[in-house]
């Protein structure tokens, strides 16, 4: 047996790209896609970068492709919304070096704000889509898609989902093979300058290309039939194929590796060969509707199957026409929380105290909406909170409670334009940049605000206060969010002001700095069980039951406490202190 290596789907994609001689990799971190570029960087040989956002990443790849370089661009599903502008027109111009756009969908929204199915982009942009169903296919399809991108002169979408990206399965590796290229930007204005006269010609060329891709879909080994009992026929792709194989091992299968455009003749032949035809797909019924449009009979499935992640169990039920609701248990839920010592906590404790109306954003700090903090009122998209607070103020005037919060990486990604809009149109907005010096939620990637690049080369560090002032914000203050007094005074001044403010709450993420000070403990004699420390939502403080159910006893877990001291600052009795080095457990 050849040597097998256990790789996640993301590592396998990086490997496939490396083997195909990729020379340029760009992207923005987003679960479940974040591990691809670091893995590619580790393999070496290619230029890689974390770009400011997905649009920058794709535009840079479009440029690199002009030189003949093979390019990979990685993002989560919603990242393609940000990159949609260059994406749609890149499908008009086509490519020189192959371009593969990896977008990782997140069925079940494990770590996302929506559950969009990015296969919908394929038809809209006329871009072909490959869907691997394990890590071996992730490696194989990635490597193949660069060649196909060049053959058909179009960027390819490699669509993964959480259970492909973050599942480890064995992979047989190959060698790196770099195609010979001139390494000079090709000049072909009728192809690369999309003024209307040239774009109209390209629109027709796209149609010819789609016809060629349809013919290719009929013959490629990416799509294959697997004979079975002939009674139940299942069309499936991606991880849904694996679930269906588990649920109905004896069925006949049409396994689609390429899900746009579809192999119509192949599908018709398959439909004729089986008694009942099912299409098993996660999220939107995209293949289903196209098969129905071919005039073929497809067994109806419960519409609820379009929500959330599939599983072997759900697919087995679906083949019986059912999608039973999971009976929820009565156990206490354990939602994610801000970490012990998280610097965001000080800001949210203060915003709650000041009864602020907080427009939020995408990042760890979105967790500030959950009990007990409950100090974040909206979360729309990257940079959305900055725009929302401006809209609230512009529509209804200032009520001295509106605050936008946004992380440092998110601010650079999509908050800067919103801030310029605030300054230009003159709303007295308060924008609080939660600057923890990293892209925390996705695992701690660097960004322009840290000044460290993906490859480790020093980059130029973005001056956050400087860019806010340059945008036209007259009041820019940097505070330490672990100092509750300073945080409250600054927020109060900003919220009462009739000018725009930016408050930069600067303190490193505890997961990055690993800054552990001696843990705190509660002096149980002095504690009056008022619950103030429990209301800061620190996971290191547990509420232990007492005789009075309304007055639990707060106990600090020393293995979790990092010694930030926020609980001591909110204690009205001064009953929380740094623990004695060898003191008794409290």
């Amino acid at each position: 047996m050849p040597q097998r290596t256990l790789l996640s789907g993301n590592e396998a994609i990086a490997r496939g790209a490396w083997e195909a001689g990729v020379r340029f990799g760009s992207g923005y971190p987003g679960t479940p896609s974040s591990e691809i570029l670091p893995a590619l960087t580790e393999l070496g040989d290619a230029y890689t970068e974390w770009s400011v956002n997905e649009k920058c990443a794709l535009e840079a790849a479009a440029g690199a492709s002009l030189t003949g370089a093979r390019c990979i661009v990685t993002m989560k599903h919603v990242g393609l919304n940000v990159a949609a502008d260059p994406f749609f027109t890149l499908c008009y111009t086509g490519v020189n070096g192959g371009v593969v756009i990896v977008c990782a969908d997140d069925p079940e929204m494990h770590s996302s704000q929506n559950e969009q199915d990015n296969r919908n982009y394929a038809r809209a942009a006329k871009a072909p889509v490959l869907e691997p169903s394990d890590s071996q296919e992730a490696r194989d399809y990635t490597a193949l898609s660069f060649r196909l991108s060049e053959q058909f002169d179009v960027p390819f979408i490699l669509r993964t989902t959480t259970r492909i990206a973050h599942s480890d399965t064995p992979v047989i590796l190959g060698e790196r093979d770099v195609p010979e290229r001139d390494c000079e930007a090709v000049r072909d204005r009728q192809k690369y300058v999309m003024i209307p006269a040239y774009a109209r010609k390209r629109r027709r060329a796209m149609h010819e290309r789609t016809l060629a891709l349809k013919a290719f879909a009929e013959e490629t080994e990416l799509n294959r039939t697997e004979p079975g009992d002939g009674k139940t026929g299942i069309i499936a792709s991606g991880v849904a194929y694996q679930y269906a194989k588990e649920a109905a091992p004896g069925a006949s299968f049409l396994k689609l590796g390429m899900t746009w455009p579809l192999p119509e003749a192949m599908i018709r032949r398959f439909a004729e060969s089986v008694e009942k035809l099912y299409v098993i797909e996660e999220l939107d019924p995209i293949i289903t509707e196209q098969v129905l449009a071919m005039g073929l009979a497809v067994e109806p499935l419960p519409q609820t199957l379009q929500f959330g992640e599939l599983s072997p169990t759900r697919v087995a039920a679906a083949l019986q026409g059912e999608d039973p609701e999971l009976s929820g248990d009565s156990l206490p839920p354990r939602p994610p929380t801000l970490c012990a010592g998280c610097p965001h906590r000080g800001v949210f404790v203060t915003l709650r105290k000041l009864k602020a109306y907080v427009t939020g954003d995408i990042g760890c700090y979105t967790l500030g909406t959950l009990p007990p903090l409950q100090a974040l009122d909206t979360c729309l998209c990257m940079g959305g909170g900055v725009g929302q607070t401006h809209g609230i103020l512009s529509a209804c005037g200032k009520k001295d409670k509106e605050v936008a919060v946004i992380g440092d990486s998110t601010f650079v990604h999509s908050g800067i334009t919103g801030l310029i809009n605030i300054a230009y149109n003159g709303s007295p907005a308060v924008v609080c940049i939660l600057d923890n010096g990293t892209t925390a939620m996705t695992g701690g990637q660097d960004h322009p605000g840290t000044g460290v690049t993906l490859s480790g080369r020093p980059g130029r560090r973005l001056d956050l206060p400087g860019i806010c002032r340059a945008a036209g914000i007259p009041n820019v203050e940097v505070i330490d969010p672990r100092d509750l007094k300073q945080t409250e005074e600054t927020l109060k001044a900003a919220m009462a002001s009739d000018e725009p403010w930016v408050i930069i709450a600067r303190c490193p993420c505890v997961l990055i700095s690993r800054d552990r000070k001696p843990p705190y403990q509660v002096d149980q004699e002095a504690c009056i069980r008022c619950g103030a420390c429990l209301r800061i939502g620190c996971p290191a403080i547990a509420a232990e039951p007492t005789d009075d159910p309304r007055k639990p006893r707060p106990v600090i877990d020393r293995s979790m406490c990092v010694g930030c001291g926020l609980c001591a600052q909110v204690c009205p009795q001064d009953a929380i202190h740094v623990a004695e080095a060898d003191g008794a457990e409290d």
Binding site: H110, P372, M441
Partner: protein, 195 residues
């Protein structure tokens, strides 16, 4: 015959590393293997689950375990063991660290931590054994190795040789954690000697 092992607990307990060691060990043993977990937001102190599936003689299709088919549950926290229990088969072996990490929903008074968690775990007729992995690891001076203690306890039921376990540990943990991890594994193995 596919062996389905479910690992569960709270973000930060080393569950993802434990499942990496287990899946590497299965691969080194020549088995078909798949492992699946979720990263990102759920890791921030939320409940974490990792699925490891392997087989010597049949393909493994889905990366996640069909409901009710986990034959082994490695639980690093009592409430999370209870939450994961419906995913296990009626004959499953359940190894649980009787540790109590209070979730925010209990701290805020919205829910109560079940006092009878252990009784409810045992009520289903599954083979339940307590493995004080965190306490054992703390005694060894490295509480972060509780995940490997648990693997040691599980190891005699998984048909993987001790040489392979050692290789898998060396392959999967940081170089400076290898020695403490190997010790933790042995301690876990000894802890469940009678079961």
């Amino acid at each position: 015959m596919v062996t389905n092992v479910l690992l569960c607990g709270v973000g930060g307990q080393g569950i993802i590393t434990a499942s990496k060691i287990l899946s590497e060990a299965a691969l080194m043993s020549g088995y078909a293997v798949k492992k699946s977990e979720v990263h990102g937001m759920s890791q921030r102190g939320g409940n974490v689950e990792s699925h490891v599936r392997f087989s010597a003689d049949s393909p493994v299709h889905a990366p996640t375990i069909p409901t009710g088919e986990a034959c082994m549950l490695l639980a690093f926290e009592t409430l999370e063991a209870l939450r994961a229990l419906p995913q296990t088969s009626p004959e499953a072996l359940v190894l649980v660290d009787e540790r109590r990490i209070v979730p925010m929903s209990v701290n805020t008074g919205l829910a109560q931590y079940p006092d009878d968690a252990m009784q409810r775990l045992e009520a289903g007729g599954r083979h339940v054994h307590v493995v004080p992995a965190f306490a054992i690891a703390t005694d060894l001076g490295e509480y972060r190795a509780a995940n490997v203690v648990m693997l040691g306890a599980a190891s005699r039921h998984l048909g993987i040789t001790s040489e392979v376990w050692q290789e898998a540990i060396k392959h999967s943990v940081r170089p400076r954690a290898v020695d403490s991890s190997l010790k933790a594994f042995e301690a876990g193995l000894a802890a469940l000697a009678g079961a």
